[in-house]
Amino acid sequence: MNNQFYKNFLMDHFKNPRNKKKINNCNFSSGKDNPACGDKISIEGIIEDGIIKDISFDGSGCVISQATASILTEECIGKPVTELIKLTKDDILKMIRLELGPNRLRCALISLESLHKGLQDYLKKN
């Protein structure tokens, strides 16, 4: 784990989360929680012509879970759903610039799981 991460990049996203807002007229949404550690993430957004037009998250939990959600939502805007649905664990770790053990990995992946669930539900309906 990079010694500086709590001071810099992730802390900035944790303290000043991007896209932590309410979106009106969203057409996809989902939520995930991890009762084992208390992390919660919900994601909602607007898809137009297969592209993420707007996206937001809400949640509570540790720095990694909340900062990752902030970073992931930034990555999503303007991207096609078909591309985002293919995002993997490794993509997330690249985004947050960390290597994590199995326990903290769950914190990092909760927002991706939530995003994928929301997108899959959207694709089923549309």
Partner: protein
């Protein structure tokens, strides 16, 4: 978890000895839950979550009550054996379980003590090599305990290492001195933690100052996993989470806590470093 499984299989019901959520003391009156329908009483000797230790006589009276109605008693000593001398002849539990990795030993092995007069009543929980006295096509006879409970190739290296760890205790550890040493560190730790207003200790401070060896706490506004990760950056190893007792965490309304455990290799300088680093974390977060 094992008791939930037993209940599902047998149709028995599961009852819990309460923990006072203000004082963090086990309800000694829990022994009133024991009646002639009780089959097994499972007790934690020292709590791995809040460091609770039973007061003199409390455990004895629960075990006596259990035995008086014909119930068996299992003591989970995983958290206590590494810190205190324990005599099965004195407390007379029917079963005692503990792990090697909590007592300077390797992972993957532990001890299950079964009182001798129960050896023949208990069937092996798994089958494999080295446990058979005589096998034919339709019937088999097991060797005597403990062999019949040790099916298959054992973890040989771990068992040898575990033996060495036990020898180390026998030859080098004065448990009375160890307990005093740990309690002193706990006491210093509690005073230090109490000086940080964002910190809440999960446990009975008086008891821990007197005879504890671990302190669990939460930090207001910082998730326990983050506290642990930041402490780790300063080479301080703690555990964070619900410590495998999620129902208790739910009971007291937290999702996790940080747990610092002391042992023979810690000293007061470690406590002072811990408190200094934690203050920096709280200030910088």
């Amino acid at each position: 978890l094992p008791w939930q499984r037993v209940v599902k299989r047998s149709g028995a019901s599961l009852k819990f000895i309460k923990v006072d959520t203000e004082t963090f003391l086990f309800d000694h009156a829990g022994k009133d839950l024991i009646n002639e329908k009780t089959k097994l009483v499972s007790l934690v000797h020292t709590s791995n979550v809040i460091g609770h230790v039973w007061k003199e006589g409390q455990l004895e009276s629960i075990i006596q009550k259990a035995h008086s109605v014909g119930a068996k008693v299992l003591l989970d000593c995983a958290q206590s054996i590494p810190h205190q001398k324990f005599d099965v002849q004195k407390l007379k539990p029917d079963f005692v379980a503990f792990s090697a990795h909590k007592m300077l030993g390797p992972t993957g092995v532990g001890v299950l003590y079964i009182k001798k007069d129960l050896h023949d009543l208990i069937e092996p929980y798994q089958l494999g090599g080295s446990m058979v006295h005589d096998a034919s096509f339709n019937e088999s006879v097991w060797i005597e305990a403990p062999g019949k409970f040790e099916a298959g190739t054992p973890p040989i290296a771990q068992t040898i290492c575990f033996g060495t760890a036990i020898d180390f205790f026998e030859n080098n550890v004065d448990f009375n001195a160890l307990q005093k040493h740990e309690a002193k560190l706990c006491s210093g730790m509690i005073d230090g933690l109490d000086s940080i207003k964002q910190v809440s200790i999960i446990g009975n401070k008086e008891m821990l100052k007197e005879s504890g060896h671990l302190i669990a706490f939460t930090v207001d506004g910082i998730h326990s996993h983050d506290v642990a990760a930041m402490l780790a950056m300063e080479n301080i190893a703690v555990r964070a989470g619900h410590h495998c007792v999620q129902p208790f965490a739910k009971l007291i309304g937290i999702d996790s806590s940080v747990r610092a455990s002391f042992y023979m290799y810690n000293n007061m300088e470690d406590v002072n470093t811990f408190i200094r680093v934690l203050k920096e974390i709280v200030k910088g977060f």
